[in-house]
Amino acid sequence: MDPQQLQMLSEIQQLEFVAVELTLYLDTHPDEQEPLNEYNKATGQLNQLKVQYESLYGPLAVYGLSPSKYPWQWVEQPWPWDI
């Protein structure tokens, strides 16, 4: 995997980690405004970055979540355990 792709993937992992952590926190603290704002902020940034990543390197998820260029890109990309 080229260094630029790895760098971008790492940024996605970092932002999604923020979203995962805040999801669990908000599950038990649904009335707190500040973590909710942080969650929405991270979600916005994450979606933007994913669109950018997927246009360059192919879909991160299929099942209708992201479109694919021709030919079907999903089976061509490396799997996480092969990186």
């Binding site: 599950d27 998820a61 099942y63 355990w81």
Partner: protein, 190 residues
């Protein structure tokens, strides 16, 4: 419905194969307090949780556990990749090779296969949440043992991340337990 995302929750960097460590890591892939047990346990218990918060929390932690299971599987796969059978035998993985070759199989560090008996679901939310909190502590302890046994900085780093997640899950389960107990007390008619 689950959607697979083509990435790990946290990156795994392995510099070279290490059969010994691969074997120890199987504790968290197919052992009693493995990520697999945790995922199946929480996703099973969620149906009979009494409040929206607890259903949500078990659903979301259960889902995160599956991502951790993938991280452990990735570590084992990378640590065993290309290792000749003689080296597997030296690390007591000759019997693993007999049945599974280099496959990543859900068994514990002693080769005992994963079983649903590791999953507790009593239908009592107080009991189940106590079980879950204990499971997180047991997994934390196992990660501390694994960190002490590991030499590869990439493996150590990923294990530290996973250990920290056990601490956070324990905290969230504790909050969920408090909520359930308050709820049960409120419902009582004196």
């Amino acid at each position: 419905m689950w959607i697979y995302e083509r990435k790990l929750e946290y990156p795994i960097c392995v510099t070279q194969p290490d059969v010994r460590m691969a074997r120890y890591l199987m504790a968290q892939y197919g052992g009693p307090d493995s990520e697999l047990s945790a995922g199946v346990r929480y996703l099973t218990q969620r149906y009979t949780m009494p409040t929206n918060k607890t259903k949500g929390l078990l659903n979301d932690i259960g889902t995160e556990e599956l991502a951790h299971w993938e991280m452990i599987g990735t570590m084992i796969y990378k640590l065993l990749k290309g290792v000749p059978v003689e080296q597997l035998e030296q690390a007591n993985l000759g019997s693993h090779f007999t049945e599974h070759d280099h496959a990543v199989y859900p068994a514990d560090a002693n080769g005992v296969p994963w079983t649903a008996a590791y999953v507790q679901a009593t239908g009592d939310p107080v009991t189940d949440l106590h079980e879950d909190m204990a499971a997180e502590q047991k997994a934390r302890t196992t990660y501390e043992h694994l960190i002490r046994l590991s030499v590869d900085p990439g493996i150590k780093d990923a294990l530290r991340f996973l250990r920290e997640r056990e601490v956070v899950h324990f905290q969230r389960f504790g909050e969920a337990l408090n909520e359930v107990q308050e709820e049960l007390t409120r419902k009582k008619v004196f």
